[in-house]
Each structure stands twice: as structure tokens, then as C-alpha cells.
Amino acid sequence: MKGSKASNLLRRLLYALIAIVGVATLVFVLLRMVPGNPVATLLGEHADKETVERISSSLGLDKPLPVQFADYLLGALRGDFGQSYTLGKPVSELIGPAFVNTLWLALAAALVSWVVGIACGLAAAIHKSTIVDRLFMGFSLLGVSLPVFMVAMLLQYVFARYLHWLPVAGVTDWTGYILPAIALGWGSAGSIARLVRSSVIEVLQQDYIDTARAKGRTGTQILVLHALRNAMLPVITLMAMQFSGLLSGAFITETIFSINGIGRLAVQAIAGRDIPLLQGTTLLCTFVIVMGNLVADLLYSVCDPRVRKEA
């Protein structure tokens, strides 16, 4: 059994690696397919042909594509994504600090969505078809259907401009993360709440819940000891997928709340046709998302003995 566990992990790691290389290739190809010369964009309309060629060659853009691709992959492996065209610094130096900011935002938003989502979902499931249920589910639906930018601006207006409780934008201390985290996390809190609710309701109808009642367990004990773990199995997967969503959702939130994160950097890179910066930010996000899914997979197999055994 130990052996199958290790080979299972190896297999998952291999899948993760394939996913990352796949995305890396896709990003490379897509960025070369975009019409227009990035150097020309960089230098402006009036640059003469010679300058463009000189700069292109210094950036390695005159090399054949397969060579460029190899350079790019080998560099990425070492954490070297080249030099940003627009900011004139190594990409790795730029994305490092930006990524830390984004990670804080995403983690804070994830925390909001997990705590709020699980609590609301549980409460709704326990008080199924009552006013509590409808209230929490309405609240969740709102979170799922409102676009992030609207929630963000609403929160800014109420809590920052009107009540002056929290900063409008920018991060000087942890309070600066509160509104962005809520804005970003509400949507996934909503879908987590809905899944938790349906999952708990379904689990509570299972035969083994009857068994637990026949043993003399009280309702609360059954919920905590028998229902919760089983009900959380599908939720773990959703939470991992949502974490990826939070990272991409961070693009908008960072812009609205002026957080110097990876999202803002990526937007800058797109605007400036800054290929190395765009490659760096995309690959980093891909890496984090794939790793997030890997962790979720492993967590799932830790929680569900039936999956654990299947090799």
C-alpha cells in the first residue's frame, strides 16, 4: 500500500509537470502569433528600421523560433524570464514582490470565502427551507451573480467613503486587505455555501447517519462527527478550483484597490506588449494554480480512504 501511495504521488507530480510545460508552450506560441512587432510598439511609430532590428537582436528576437523557445524554457526552469521590455528590470525581480502581494490578497479572500461559505452553507442546510436558509442562499446568490468590480466599488463607497472605517485603496497595513478580500472572496463564498448546503443535506440522508442516530448520537454530534467530513469531500475540490479563480480575479480587484500585485503587473505587460513580463506572470500563475490543484488532490485523498486505496 505504501508503494502505491508513492507512485500515486509521482504520477500526480508528472501530470502537474505536463500541465505546466503545456501552458508554457501555449503561452509562447500565442504571444508569437499576435500580429505586430513588439519592439516597434516599444519604440513608438517613428523608430527607424535599423534601430528596431538592433534592439530586436539584443533581445534575442532575431533568433529562429525553436531556439527562442529553448532559451525561454531553460530560462524559466532557472527562474530567469529575461528582461522586461518596458520596466528595464529582470522579470524575476518584478514578479517576486508583486506575487507576494497577490498571494496575501488571494489568501485573505480565500479565508473569507471558506469561513463565510462553510458557515452559511451549514446554517442553511441545518435550517433547510426556513427563513435562515433563504436568507443565506439569497446572500450567496448575490455574491455569485454580482461582478467583482461592482462589489468592490460598493464596498469602497459604503465602508471607506461613507463610513470611513477602512482605507479606500492602497495597502499600508493589513486593514488595506479587508475590503479587497471581501470583494474578491464573496463570489466564491457564495458558491462554496451552495455546495456545502447541498452536500450536507445529501449526506444527512445517507444510511450511515441513521446508523449513528441508532447508536444514540445527538443531532449536533452527528453533524460534527459523521456528516461534516463526508460532506466536505466535494467542497475541497471546489475550494481548490476557486483558489485559481481568486488569483485571476485578483487582476480586477488589484486595479480597483491599487494593490501592486501580479495582476496589475500583467495588465501593464499586456498594455506594453512586454512579452517577457507577460510570460513570467502567466507562468507563475499557472505554476501556483497547478500546485493548488495538486494540494487539493492530495488533501482529498487524505480525507477519503476510498480514493487513498485506489492506485
Binding site: Y208, T211, A214, G216, T218, P305, R306
Partner: protein, 325 residues
């Protein structure tokens, strides 16, 4: 204390649905003496499980015990609150469910699931609870208990799982064990083993209420039998009386189905017709639409349970009054 373990009298349990009141259990009285094995038999949907759930206090909404009394070891259960019922379930009365495949928590080790029962009802150390768990697991015939203790349900066969569930129900040595179709989901070989185990438990002094749609199971295990049809007891008697001298046309039909199975006829003989809708029961005898002996009064008058001898009662107009069949 009396020798009566369980006394159910005039129990009525209904489901209150949008389409009206579904009378799943109607005016049912059942008694179980100490060490006795009592069987309830009847076609699927006749209310057997609802009797079991009523006794356990586990009737699910929109179902409800409407009236009647359930006395276990001299204690009235129908007036108890949920908190008091929790102290009785698993300790004084326990239940084995039909589906061994789904009646165990898939993410909990089976040993823990048995041990849990001890922890709920008794303030003992973990070591003691574990010791008793291992003891009961081997008592119900599980080999290599130390290893099985740590197994998850999906790692065990159906027969072993049902043994675990029986161990769970027996670990507190309850006064009454209710087994609701304990072998229906198992294959024939395993069925025989589980039946032998239940027989052994009864020999050791546990009162057992065994529920089945299979007369063969009842015949092998029970001392006394209740035959149910459409929520009512239509005939009851000692197992010898009932099998040697069945009186109710429905019991005749059930026995016919059994003997045709025994003679290995390809065509399974069943009673023609279908079970009536419990929300709209016909006036008079519920069995009338399917009964070959149906008379004029059967369609209008509900027959009463009458004793033909001290060991045998039947609910049929053919047996009412002085005339005999």
C-alpha cells in the same frame, strides 16, 4: 421486572404528505418477551420498517407517531424527549439496518464506529472501550480483529460489514435487538452465516425483533410471527401454528410463494394484484381486492383480530363469529 421486553400497543404511524395522510402503521400491537425471537413478515411497503423506526424513535419527517404506546422494559418511549431517547438508543434497544454497504460511515475506521457506541453510553477509558470493541468483533465472528479494527468499510465484504453492524448493535448488550431485513442484501451463503449468528445471540438471552419479507428467514429464526398487510397485523401466532395452520388468505398466499420457491419452480408464484395505496385505503378489508375468498361484507366492514386459540389470532371475516373455515 416483567418478562416483557417490548410491548407495542395500538401504534399508528403516518406520513403527512401533500397527497394526504399515508397510514403506514395502523393499530399495530406487538409484544416481545425476554429471550424471544419475534418475526414480522409481509410484502415490501407494508409498514415493517416504520414499526422498527417508531420503536427506535427514528421516524423521519413528514412521518409521525400519531397514537399508541411503546413500552420497553417497563418504560414508555413515546413520551420521551429526543435527549432521553438518545440515552436509550444503542444501549437498551439497537437496530441493524438492511443495507450493510451503506450503513457504515465510509470515512471512519470500522473499529472506531463500534467503539463509538461504548463511548456514547459509558464513561470508560479508551483502552477499555477498545478492549470491549475487539471482544465483540471477535464474538460476531470477525477474523483477525486487530487488523479489521483499522479497516475502512470499503475494505470489507458485505458479510463482514453486516457483522460489524451487528457488533455495533450488540456491544452494549441491549434488551432488544431489531434486525430490519438483515440478510436481504447478502448472498445465500452469507445469509446463512448471519442467520446463525442472530440465532446464537437469541440463545444468549437477547430479545430479537426480526423483520423480513422472506418467510424462510422468519421460519428459521422466529418463535412467534406477525404477518402484516397494508399497515396492519392480519395474523399472528407461534411459528408452528402459523406455518402448520395458516388461516388468513394472505398468509396462504405468502406460504404458496415459499413452497413454489422450494420446489424450484421457474415461475415465481406471487399473490395476484398489488398492495393498495396507503393514502386511500379501501373501506373494509384492505386485502379484499386481491382475496379469492372475498365476501360481500369484506368490502365494507374492517375485520377484527380474533383469537382462534391462545397461540393464534387472525383478522379475517372468514374467522369471525362462531363459524369455522
Amino acid at each position: 421486572m416483567t418478562r416483557r421486553t417490548l410491548e407495542v400497543s395500538h401504534l399508528n404511524t403516518s406520513f403527512f404528505t401533500e397527497r394526504g395522510e399515508v397510514k403506514a402503521v395502523q393499530d399495530v400491537s406487538i409484544s416481545v418477551n425476554k429471550g424471544q425471537v419475534v418475526g414480522i413478515v409481509g410484502e415490501s411497503g407494508c409498514g415493517k420498517s416504520m414499526i422498527a423506526r417508531s420503536i427506535m424513535g427514528l421516524v423521519k419527517k413528514p412521518g409521525k407517531i400519531v397514537s399508541g404506546s411503546i413500552v420497553l422494559q417497563g418504560k414508555e418511549l413515546t413520551s420521551l424527549g429526543e435527549k432521553e431517547l438518545c440515552k436509550i438508543r444503542g444501549k437498551d434497544v439497537s437496530m441493524v439496518f438492511q443495507e450493510p454497504m451503506t450503513s457504515l460511515n465510509p470515512t471512519m475506521r470500522v473499529g472506531k464506529q463500534v467503539q463509538e457506541v461504548v463511548a456514547i453510553h459509558e464513561d470508560v477509558s479508551r483502552e477499555e472501550a477498545r478492549r470491549r470493541t475487539l471482544q465483540i468483533l471477535s464474538a460476531v465472528g470477525i477474523p483477525e480483529v486487530e487488523a479489521r479494527y483499522n479497516a475502512y468499510p470499503h475494505e470489507l465484504s458485505g458479510g463482514l460489514r453486516q457483522r460489524v453492524i451487528i457488533a455495533m448493535a450488540m456491544v452494549m448488550k441491549p434488551h432488544l435487538l431489531i434486525a430490519d431485513e438483515p440478510t436481504t442484501a447478502l448472498d445465500a451463503t452469507v445469509e446463512t452465516q448471519i442467520m446463525a449468528l442472530l440465532k446464537q445471540l437469541a440463545k444468549d438471552g437477547t430479545s430479537v425483533l426480526i423483520i423480513s419479507h422472506n418467510l424462510g428467514v422468519i421460519a428459521q429464526l422466529a418463535d412467534y410471527v406477525y404477518v402484516m398487510y397494508a399497515g396492519r397485523v392480519v395474523e399472528k401466532g407461534s411459528v408452528f401454528e402459523l406455518f402448520d395452520n395458516p388461516l388468513h388468505p394472505y398468509t396462504h398466499g405468502l406460504l404458496g410463494a415459499v413452497s413454489s420457491l422450494r420446489s424450484q419452480t421457474k415461475v415465481l408464484q406471487t399473490i395476484p394484484g398489488v398492495v393498495p395505496n396507503l393514502a386511500h385505503l379501501p373501506a373494509g378489508c384492505s386485502f379484499a381486492p386481491r382475496c379469492s375468498k372475498c365476501m360481500a361484507r369484506c368490502g365494507s366492514e374492517q375485520p377484527k383480530l380474533v383469537a382462534v386459540n391462545p397461540e393464534h389470532e387472525v383478522c379475517c371475516h372468514l374467522k369471525e363469529g362462531a363459524d369455522s373455515l
